[in-house]
């Protein structure tokens, strides 16, 4: 298992380097411009000056290598410095700066993490918690009305675009009923029960939209996986032992069915960080997704590049996590 993990990590290095190059090329070659959003009243000489100060005049390769060094050497040092009060990083080790805000990209990401984790994370967890029982019951009572309804709801869940459901919820619950705020307050701090309640209220709608979407997908997986296992011979064995139906389904079948589902859930985690862009946009949860969109719109190459690469790392990482989980959960699998 360990060697397997190490091997996968080793393979991941060239993959990630290659991905970073692709991302770099694609992002850099895109004809967008960091000065495009400035008012037209700013003359072109000034724009040229600004571009130069952003390092846009360097050759492509130099910029790529610089970025690599910044990402893999300078940033970690700076982050260690910040965390432990060391001073490993010297002054000439420039961090990756966003073109728009002129601040380190890492700081931006750290700043946006809480709301993304809160909203999107919660919705993912809730989605999973809803999905599992639905999937289990749907499979156990295949073709029953519960299954039919569950199938319909989950299909509808990913058939309706989130920007549509989001706006609909806002109009109903914020504008008409006034129950929940339409704009997420990222500065809100939970200190007591009342403020916790405020937090819950502002999370309800985005979480609901996303959870529905996530639950829809995962419940389908759960159902399929349960169905696969319900017909297995060992289920018959368990019944022949005189175990109650509950134990048979919730212990024997579920444990086996969870193996592929857990990996699906793990694989879905990277999307927690990036996939909720539209929902973040609709509810003004200024999280990672919104950061990315703004950076793309503003031609902020370092931010786009870094974020995209982090997503790639997460995807690769959680792929690995999923595989390792698979190995841990399923004793038959031995990686070596």
């Amino acid at each position: 298992m360990l060697t397997y993990t190490i091997r996968r990590l080793l393979i991941a290095i060239p993959t990630l380097l290659f991905i970073s190059l692709i991302i770099f090329l694609v992002v850099t070659l895109a004809p967008s411009d960091p000065t495009a959003n400035l008012p037209l009243s700013i003359p072109s000489e000034v724009r040229a000056q600004i571009r130069e100060s952003l390092g846009l005049n360097e050759p492509l390769l130099v910029r790529y290598l610089l970025w690599l060094r910044q990402f893999f050497v300078y940033e970690p040092l700076h982050i260690l410095d910040q965390a432990f009060g060391w001073s490993l990083a010297t002054d000439d080790m420039q961090r990756i700066l966003s073109w728009q805000t002129r601040s380190p990209v890492a700081d931006l990401i750290v700043q946006r993490m809480p709301q993304t984790l809160w909203v999107v994370g919660t919705s993912y967890i809730i989605g999973v918690l809803i999905a599992l029982p639905i999937g289990i019951v749907s499979a156990y009572r295949q073709y029953s009305w519960f299954d039919q309804v569950g199938t319909f709801v989950s299909m509808a869940g990913f058939s309706v675009p989130t920007f549509f459901t989001g706006v609909l919820l806002i109009v109903i619950f914020s504008v008409q009923l006034g129950w929940f705020p339409s704009i997420y307050d990222t500065t809100h701090e939970v200190t007591d029960l009342a403020s916790f309640w405020v937090q819950v209220k502002q999370m309800i709608m985005p979480v609901a939209v996303l959870a529905l979407y996530n639950a829809a997908q995962i419940s389908r997986f759960m159902r399929a996986s349960m169905l696969d296992n319900l017909n297995q011979d060992y289920v018959r064995t368990a019944r022949a032992k005189g175990l109650s139906e509950q134990v048979v389904v919730l212990v024997h079948v579920l444990r086996n069915s969870m193996i592929p589902v857990v990996t699906v859930i793990a694989l879905g985690v990277p999307t927690v960080f990036g996939g909720a862009i539209i929902t973040e946009q609709v509810f003004k949860v200024n999280g990672i997704g919104q950061l990315l969109i703004i950076a793309i719109q503003g031609g902020d190459v370092p931010t786009v590049q870094t974020l995209t690469f982090i997503f790639a790392v997460l995807i690769v990482l959680f792929n690995l996590v999923a595989d390792v989980l698979y190995g841990l959960l399923d004793p038959r699998i031995r990686y070596d």
Partner: protein
């Protein structure tokens, strides 16, 4: 060699096509049947519809703007007085075309890669690396960037609408083939171990015929299922792109675009959101149900051969 020629159980039946069996099973899945019916309805509406409902979707009748449903405009008009029904029909044409074309592209790429990787051991490693690589690419940013990169080259080559159509179809296709490739590869790997492939090899069937004759027909069912999901996925992706301002230009109606444009009017003219919203959701839903039914119908275990 004195087998009884015809036994009781072997009542001579006319040769029965596989697909008839599939259809028989498919018919028993009510959801799938309804889905298929609705999808056919949508297809007919967007292809034949514009011939019947002949109002030009781009015609501006400024006096008739923001009208509710009426006889002249059954779905009402938009803020420039364009007929919503006509725009829905021509928008549907684009959306469905995008869905079908993107699905076709991703299927072709996915199947090609999947079959090659599964069939030729030597290519497997590198092709699967490639697939993993694509899977590891964060799609949305890349989508956005690719659209910016190539939009204009294609526009000049294929005209303003053709260009963006090709681009969107291309982008959605190129970024969604990986699942198909993986599934197909898995199936091909399993298939390769099946004895009839070995039998064909023992006959000396060359690889290309092996693939077309034995492998492809047998991976058809996962491909078909992928196909339905692919259509749904492409339609949704196109509308999401529209939402992020990257889809078709706004003078070019698609369902996604119409939906996005009308969300601002949700309160005043809710029907304007309802039409494209319903169209997208129902189409995707119907296609999903179709896929579900197809999956069951194509699974011999369920079909009970």
């Amino acid at each position: 060699m004195t087998d009884m020629p015809v036994e009781e159980t072997e009542i001579i039946r006319p040769p029965r096509n596989q697909w008839l069996d599939v259809w028989d099973q498919f018919k028993t899945h009510k959801g799938a049947l309804m889905g298929a019916a609705f999808f056919v309805f949508i297809l007919l509406a967007v292809t034949i519809g514009p011939l019947i409902w002949t109002i030009d979707p781009t015609y501006i009748d400024i006096r008739a703007r923001n009208q509710g449903p009426s006889l002249g405009h059954p779905f009402g008009t938009d803020q420039l007085g364009r007929d919503t029904l006509a725009r829905m029909l021509s928008g549907g044409q684009v959306s469905v075309a995008v869905g079908v074309a993107a699905m076709a592209l991703s299927l072709v790429v996915g199947t090609f890669i999947g079959v090659l990787a599964g069939y030729f051991r030597r290519l497997d490693g590198i092709l699967m690396r490639l697939t993993d690589l694509f899977l590891a690419l964060p799609l949305l940013p890349l989508l956005l960037v690719i659209i910016m990169l190539f939009r204009d080259a294609l526009r000049s080559a294929f005209g303003p609408e053709g260009g963006i159509f090709i681009l969107i179809v291309g982008v959605i296709g190129i970024t969604s083939w990986m699942q198909t490739a993986r599934i197909v590869r898995g199936d091909v790997l399993a298939l390769k171990e099946r004895e009839f492939v070995l039998a064909a090899r023992s006959i000396g069937t060359p690889s290309h015929r092996m693939i077309t004759r034995h492998v492809l027909p047998n991976v058809l069912s996962p491909i078909m299922v992928s196909a339905t999901l692919g259509i749904a996925n492409a339609i949704i992706t196109e509308s999401a792109l529209s939402f992020l301002g990257l889809g078709f230009p706004s003078d070019f109606p698609t369902w996604g675009r119409l939906l996005f444009d009308s969300t601002d009017y949700l309160q005043q003219y809710p029907e304007r959101v309802i039409w494209p919203g319903l169209a997208i959701s129902l189409t995707v839903l119907s296609v999903n149900y179709m896929g579900d039914g197809l999956r069951d119908a194509l699974d011999p275990r369920i079909r009970g051969r």
